[in-house]
């Protein structure tokens, strides 16, 4: 879970002017010339991706508004595909000379040594449908309105409990404009806004310290923070820190585990999502390669990746290759249904892109990635699920996770956990990780709640050094057994010693 904050404050008048300049540097005739140059060595496909982004952040720490910052990112990336090969070059200058050089550099991936005559390419503009309409962009509002949110969070957190010794709050927002054109004639542009508030507190009692975190946002209007208030966020962060102050050490070993709804969807993201990204499957390096139509999870499990849900953090009007995002059923009642495709991998596997080609910025070529990944709701209440557990572990909130695509091992961090004893949630425990093997854990999903919910908008996913915002969602759900990585061992265990 990336908590690094971004910020800036340019007004949108400036932004519209800058976007106009970018569009003027890349009028259709220029794009057509660049694409033609890029294909001179007989590449199969060429693409121009131009980006302009404003990134803002404000940070409050130790009762001081420490930082207000604004940044601009602008550049053009040019990609050429030849068979399975990708050539990529970028420029942060919009001058034709620089762009032409980038197109030439990218063209070298196609290994025909003789430059050919330029083929004519025609691009025609198409329209983007805006899935997350916004009236007031967070990037557009006065800095003071954002710093006010932070001061409110700060005040609430300190007032909430005497044991709170530190409060840090930050607000980050950005608007990213991008234009994608390719040798199939596509020319499309898109504007995506994203924002997020974070509150982190440290509580101290008898020399013991614990931190608590809460935050969220999405592709939302600034008014979103009228209902997702800094007060509520601060109170939640305080609640987590205070509970952990008296938490027991986590149990170790196999347990019956109940996952809370929301951010627990990171389990799906790690346990199966990455393994279904088409690049790994084309290369046959994922344990899910070649398993479409097979049972890979319990029949209670249906997993969807949907880039079209209004205002969610992982939502996109179009992906970074200009393809409309879609709702993709990955697993239906336990049966593997599909992978997530970008253009390159779809082409090579003779299918269509699922609108999953994403990149961090113009400096990167796209990869198949997730958007908003979630498990659909079942029919049990969370109470019924908890009551069914005699002795087990309730994982309510989570931190970050990681997966090994090839062997399927994944791990994620529990930031708020409890023991379950005789059907009741009892003592809080701290410092646990859950670890498992993707298909095994999904096979052991034995109860699914009716309370499917998305996370609050805090997820950032990293792959091959590229970070993109994602959403996850999950109903409360019970896993019959899973390894909890705590320190406390019960009953018999083997111990080692020195020779």
């Amino acid at each position: 879970m990336g908590k690094n904050i971004m910020m800036s404050n340019m007004n949108t008048g400036d932004m519209d002017r800058e976007i106009d300049q970018l569009k003027q540097a890349l009028v259709p005739e220029i794009i057509e010339r660049l694409l033609a140059i890029a294909l001179r060595r007989d590449g199969d496909f060429a693409e121009v991706y131009a980006e302009y982004a404003i990134i803002n952040a404000v940070e409050l720490e130790e009762n001081k508004l420490r930082l207000a910052q604004t940044g601009i990112i602008q550049g053009v990336g040019i990609r050429v595909i030849s068979g399975e090969k990708t050539g990529y070059a970028y420029s942060d200058s919009l001058s034709f000379d620089h762009l032409q050089r980038a197109a030439q550099t990218a063209s070298y991936i196609a290994d025909k040594s003789q430059a050919k005559a330029i083929k004519a390419i025609n691009v025609s503009p198409s329209q983007t449908i805006n899935l997350s309409p916004i009236e007031t962009y967070p990037t557009q509002v006065e800095v003071k309105q954002k710093t006010d949110l932070l001061w409110r969070a700060n005040e609430t957190a300190y007032a909430a409990d005497m044991r709170i010794k530190q409060v840090s709050a930050s607000f980050g927002d950005s608007i990213k404009f991008y234009l994608v054109a390719n040798s199939h004639g596509l020319l499309i542009d898109n504007k995506e806004s994203i924002s997020r508030i974070n509150v982190e507190v440290v509580a101290e009692k008898d020399g013991r310290r614990q931190s608590g975190y809460h935050g969220g946002g999405g592709r939302v209007d600034f008014s979103f923070f009228d209902s997702f208030t800094p007060e509520a966020i601060a109170k939640e962060a305080v609640r987590m820190a205070i509970i952990k102050l008296d938490a027991l050490d986590a149990p170790a070993g196999l347990q019956e585990v109940v996952l809370g709804n929301g951010w627990a969807g990171i389990l799906l993201h790690e346990a199966i999502g990455h393994g279904l990204e088409a690049d790994f499957n084309r290369k046959k390096t994922s344990l899910y390669s070649g398993r479409i139509g097979q049972k890979v999870a319990s029949e209670l499990v249906t997993v969807v990746d949907d880039g079209t849900i209004p205002n969610q953090r992982g939502t996109l009007n179009i992906d970074d290759e200009g393809t409309k995002t879609t709702r993709n059923v990955l697993i239906e009642k336990g049966i593997l249904k599909g992978y997530l495709f970008d253009y390159l991998n779809a082409q090579l596997l003779k299918t269509k892109s699922t609108g999953s080609g994403r990149r961090e910025s113009y400096k990167n070529y796209p990869l198949p990635r997730m958007t908003n990944t979630f498990m659909t709701a079942g029919d049990m209440t969370s109470d019924e699920i908890i009551r069914s557990v005699k002795k087990g572990f309730y994982a309510k909130s989570f931190g970050g996770g990681q997966v090994d695509i090839s062997n399927g091992q994944f791990v994620f961090e529990v930031t708020e956990g409890y023991l379950i004893e005789n059907g009741k949630i009892t003592a809080p425990v701290k410092g646990a990780n859950l670890i498992g093997l993707g298909p095994q854990v999904l096979e052991k999903v034995v109860m699914v709640g009716n309370d499917m919910k998305f996370d609050t908008g805090v997820g950032t996913c990293g792959k091959n050094g590229q970070s993109v915002p994602v959403g996850v969602g999950m109903p409360t759900c019970k896993i019959s057994e899973m390894i909890v990585g705590g320190t406390q061992i019960e009953g018999a265990s083997m111990t080692g010693g020195k020779v």
Partner: protein, 446 residues
């Protein structure tokens, strides 16, 4: 080069004219190249250069910061204006401001390989293909690959401020990397090995990188998950470095001030076993994290962090050092798109006296860790829980592969329980460590 100094000078002058009390410009010009092969065929080629500029100003002890990749004059003027406006939104803080010291520019660290850009693309492709060829020849169970890569690049930093600082230096890197995938009984394992250096001539031989990667993937085939136990644990150099990275985060002077680290109130106290000696060295010749200056222009140093288990210093930048009323340790780190934050340079656990075989040989039943997963180190509490895989030690020998385990303890307890430190330190990256043994940890399994 002088162009960027005069550009910086213009920006600083403009900032002062517009009302800033202090101003700093940080410029980064970088080049990157990527060559990737898969199954001995070229798969990716990438080549590009980029630049960016950050403007940090203080006005009435308030901070404003802006950055951009657009160097057009009109745009830069706006960037300065915007930084000053932003400063009006932040709180006055008596400790805010630029460092006063001006750099002694004489130090030569040999961070730039001028011959790196002469290496032909065809040679890079050959090297990648060779790594994969060796991988596949090592063992027939290695029948796939995520690829072999040759990354290289360089960056030139210019930093100038209104206290008279004018510094520039250039550094380069090259990185070889390969990722074999092996199959046995329908189960896949992948692993990797790499070499990262400032100079091309210093890179490990591609053959050796590939052989190490092959050995690492093959030995994990057939891995099982053993039962939960409390046993001695050995960290190999790669996972040892990851743990030492946690120590680095915990001695951050800013976190210390906020009491949000488990190492608060521990200065000059024994926090680790006497086997533990850690240094932070900004001036290691050809060092992967060396730099003549820190992110604010202060000369870097080679300093003791932990000596025979005793914590000697926290790490500070200018702001936190003023707050703590001590000399800065020159540990500001940054890129053009961020304000300085505290970090380490070449941060490493010093070599101990034990050959790794002797460390492994000292254990009857234990866990030799070769890979860690997840984000399980809580710097505030020191609680530590990570996914782990590696080899099981029986009667002093590495035996069968194990995976799907978690290791858990508290970082302070782990530091105190470091019983043996290996003599096998090599500088593999910005953070390095030799093999070490922790007397006991909880290893959770099936």
């Amino acid at each position: 080069m002088s162009d960027y100094f005069s550009l910086s000078d213009d920006i600083i002058k403009l900032a002062l004219k517009k009302g800033a009390d202090e101003a700093e410009v940080y410029i980064e010009i970088s080049r990157e190249s990527e060559v990737g092969t898969r199954l001995e065929e070229v798969e990716t080629l990438k080549e590009a250069s980029a630049r960016g500029l950050g403007v940090r100003i203080f006005k009435n002890k308030r901070l404003g910061f802006t950055y951009s990749s657009d160097f057009a004059k009109a745009h830069l003027d706006k960037l300065v204006q915007s930084a000053i406006l932003l400063s009006e939104q932040t709180s006055a803080d008596e400790f805010n401001g630029l460092p006063e010291t001006v750099l002694d520019n004489s130090i030569k660290l040999d961070l730039y390989d001028s011959k790196l850009t002469d290496i032909e693309l065809s040679r890079k492709i050959e090297i990648c293909k060779l790594m994969e060829k060796i991988l596949f020849s090592c063992d027939k169970r290695i029948n796939n690959s995520e690829g072999a890569f040759f990354f290289d690049g360089d960056s030139t930093i210019y930093i100038a401020n209104s206290n008279g600082l004018n510094h520039s230096h250039k550094s380069s890197y090259c990185y070889l990397y390969c990722v074999p995938v092996a199959r046995q009984d329908d189960k896949l394992q992948s692993n990797y090995w790499f070499s990262l250096k400032r100079h091309f001539a210093d890179l490990d031989k591609p053959e050796n990188i590939a052989r190490t990667a092959a050995e690492r993937v093959i030995r994990m085939l057939g891995a099982v998950t053993p039962k939960t136990a409390r046993v001695p644990v050995v960290f190999d150099p790669l996972t040892a470095a990851s743990f030492i990275g946690g120590v680095l985060a915990a001695i951050n002077g800013d976190a210390v001030f906020k009491r949000s680290t488990f190492l608060v109130d521990k200065l000059n106290r024994k926090i680790a076993s006497s086997e533990v000696n850690i240094r932070d060295d900004g001036q290691l010749v050809k060092g992967l994290a060396s730099s003549p200056i820190d992110g604010e222009g202060l000369p870097t140093a080679n300093k003791e962090i932990i000596s025979q288990g005793k914590l000697i210093t926290y790490l500070y930048d200018t702001y936190t050092a003023r707050k703590a009323n001590i000399k800065p340790t020159a540990n500001a780190q940054r890129g053009y798109s961020s304000t300085p934050a505290i970090g380490g340079f070449n941060f490493y656990l010093q070599a101990g006296k034990y050959p790794p075989e002797e460390i492994i040989g000292s254990i009857k039943s234990g866990f030799y860790i070769t890979s860690l997963m997840g984000f399980g180190g809580d710097i505030v509490t020191g609680d530590y829980s990570q996914g782990a895989a590696g080899l099981w030690i029986e009667n002093g020998k590495l035996t069968r592969p194990v995976e799907g385990l978690t290791i858990a303890s508290n970082m302070l307890e782990m530091l105190r329980n470091i019983e043996m430190v290996g003599n096998d330190l090599t500088m593999m990256g910005p953070i390095s460590a030799p093999t070490f043994k922790i007397s006991e940890m909880t290893v959770a399994g099936g």
